[in-house]
């Protein structure tokens, strides 16, 4: 199994990562090695095995829809990298 550079680029785009050329090469090699290793899972016949998504078999808990936190907009926007009053500033979305 060999991961091509353009596949690495595609995955990086899906993951919203910009990679340098060196990183693209390094990750292609790393993913190759790691995927070759995890290939051992194919030794196991799992056709009739149910997947485990979560170990706890708790049912979805319900609670009353009540406001329990005091609104504190200032605290929430205080950590924003760019703001305008109590709004988050972002680059233009529609070109």
């Amino acid at each position: 199994m060999t991961i091509a550079r353009d596949e690495v680029r595609k995955v990086a785009m899906l993951g919203r990562l910009e990679l340098s050329e060196d990183e693209e090469n390094a990750f292609a090699a790393d993913l190759d090695r790691i995927l070759a290793y995890v290939d051992m899972l194919n030794e196991l016949d799992t056709a009739s095995v149910e997947p485990t998504t979560h170990v706890a078999s708790v049912e979805t808990p319900f609670r009353d829809d009540r406001v329990t936190n005091a609104p504190n907009t200032e605290a929430l926007v205080a950590g924003a990298p760019a703001r305008d009053g109590t709004y988050f500033r972002v680059p233009k979305i529609i070109e």
């Binding site: 993951g15 990562l17 990183e23 899972l41 799992t46 504190n72 605290a75 929430l76």
Partner: protein
């Protein structure tokens, strides 16, 4: 009154505090002095907070003087791993992207420690977003193992384990996804426990892999870990995966001993290539426990060798999804380059994430992407079922299981950092237990030729932290490893 307050266990310190033999300010100052003396060599902390700690100690002393609201942690100096939210105290997850993040809220575990009157000394180092086995992946500093400064402390809770081992706090909180409490506890020669998945609230824990992450205690004794666990465990409506089960008094149950306890020894956990001293120490520990009245049962966990592969697919898939939130909009770093929205996301994440985090986002995104989902992610989840069943079967024949924590003792700084697969294989004895969601702890059980600690892992049935703690406590009463380990001198 003891001469070196930093050597007190929580239980001893609480007794001294309640008798007013010492004050929390004195105890906290002793810890802060030790911290100041050795931090330049150890680097266990990312953000120590001495001023706040002294204020909290004064508040604790007032509580102690009034005799109101006094609990077992009142006035006790503790450390918290820096991926656990602390209100108004910088919380970075050792990531560039969160370098200046100050949470407007406390994690549930933090709130519980505060209610109990604990003094928070600071936030400890970790591998970025808890992704790593050596703490070398921190974006800020490399933590050194206080037992041997050229060695890694293990990861990802390496800062918490180092801080406990170096007496820069009495105990600490860590988090464990695939071994991140147990491995550093073993490498640094302290006790560390990952509770059953769902036992401790994850609210306020910066998410790595949500179906695996658990917060747990690290301390210098089993009793201290039991005490800390008792304070942080229990149902929390703010974490939908936290279980609504009553929390036993873990401390009270410690004294029950191991008479008649069946300890399973899974044969797959003794593999070729292991450091011989590790196997010898673990087997010797079992003899000690047998002498205390336990019986040893050989058991089998046939899918053990698939654990790392399944774990690294599931954990990275969940991580790639969890880390999607770091987009440079609401908090954290944003690139300074002016660009459109998509470029802003990509450049922000390029600048904000380190190599290992990017590698895992890549692997996880790949495993979840169209055309590969069934082959990798779904396959790994099915193997996870097989691994769970192994434990269910084996636990029919035993009450707890005992294994090594890692195949070797602490490796050298830099030794594995350029070989991700070798680094992942460090977790060979811890990941299956995480995939099965079981409680497990690490306790010192030996010292190798280089003077490095060896860890014994004791695994319990689901929600039976008590069984594992009781077994570890019985062992600890019969041994003195923690007193024989080398220490970093003050000067």
């Amino acid at each position: 009154m003891p001469t070196d307050l930093t050597r007190l266990t929580i239980t001893e310190a609480a007794r001294c505090l309640s008798r007013r033999d010492i004050s929390s300010v004195e105890l906290t100052n002793a810890v802060l002095q030790r911290l100041e003396a050795i931090e330049p060599r150890v680097h266990a902390y990312l953000t120590p907070c001495p001023e706040r700690a002294r204020e909290e100690a004064e508040a604790a002393d007032r509580r102690l003087a009034e005799g109101t609201n006094v609990g077992p942690l009142t006035g006790i100096p503790l450390a918290i791993k820096d991926n656990i939210a602390t209100r108004n105290l910088r919380t970075t997850a050792a990531a560039r992207i969160l370098e200046n993040f100050v949470p407007p809220y406390d994690a549930t575990v933090t709130a519980r420690l505060r209610e109990a009157g604990a003094v928070i000394v600071g936030k400890t180092n970790l591998d970025e977003f808890a992704m790593g086995s050596s703490t070398e992946n921190s974006a800020f500093v490399v933590t050194r193992n206080p037992r041997a400064l050229d060695r890694v402390p293990g990861g990802s809770s390496g800062g918490s384990a180092s801080a406990v081992a170096a007496r820069e706090c009495l105990a600490a909180l860590g988090s464990d996804t695939g071994g991140s409490i147990r491995l550093p506890a073993a490498f640094c020669g302290v006790v560390g426990m990952k509770p059953t998945y769902g036992r401790v609230s994850r609210y306020g824990l910066i998410a790595f892999a949500s179906s695996l992450d658990q917060i747990g205690p690290l301390g210098s004794s089993v009793t201290d870990c039991a005490l800390l666990l008792r304070e942080i465990a229990g149902h929390d409506p703010r974490d939908s995966t936290s279980v609504p089960l009553p929390v036993p008094d873990y401390v009270a149950e410690l004294g029950k001993g191991v008479e008649g306890m069946r300890i399973g020894l899974p044969r797959e956990y003794f593999v070729e290539g292991m450091q011989p001293e590790v196997e010898e120490s673990v087997r010797a520990a079992l003899c000690t426990l047998e002498g205390a009245g336990a019986t040893i049962e050989e058991v089998s966990l046939p899918h053990t060798r698939y654990g790392i592969a399944a774990y690294y697919l599931i954990a990275t898939a969940e991580a790639s999804s969890n880390l999607a939130r770091y987009d440079g909009v609401r908090y954290g770093h944003r690139t300074a380059t002016r660009s459109g929205l998509l470029d802003m996301y990509r450049r922000t994440r390029r600048e904000g994430f380190g190599t290992e985090v990017k590698r895992r986002i890549m692997l996880g995104t790949y495993a979840l992407s169209a055309g590969y989902y069934d082959a990798y992610y779904l396959k790994a989840q099915k193997v996870r079922t097989l691994i769970r069943r192994d434990f269910e079967q084996a636990f029919k024949r035993c009450d707890v299981m005992a294994t090594p924590v890692a195949p070797t003792t602490a490796f050298r700084i830099g030794e594995k950092i350029h070989d991700p697969l070798q680094m992942y294989l460090t977790d060979v004895f811890t990941t299956c237990i995480s995939l099965a969601g079981l409680p497990a702890l690490s306790i010192p059980c030996g010292i190798d030729e280089a003077g490095l600690p060896i860890g014994l892992q004791i695994v319990g049935r689901p929600y039976d932290e008590s069984g594992a703690l009781r077994c570890a406590h019985a062992y600890e009463q019969l041994t003195d490893w923690h007193r024989r380990l080398p220490e970093v001198p003050d000067e």
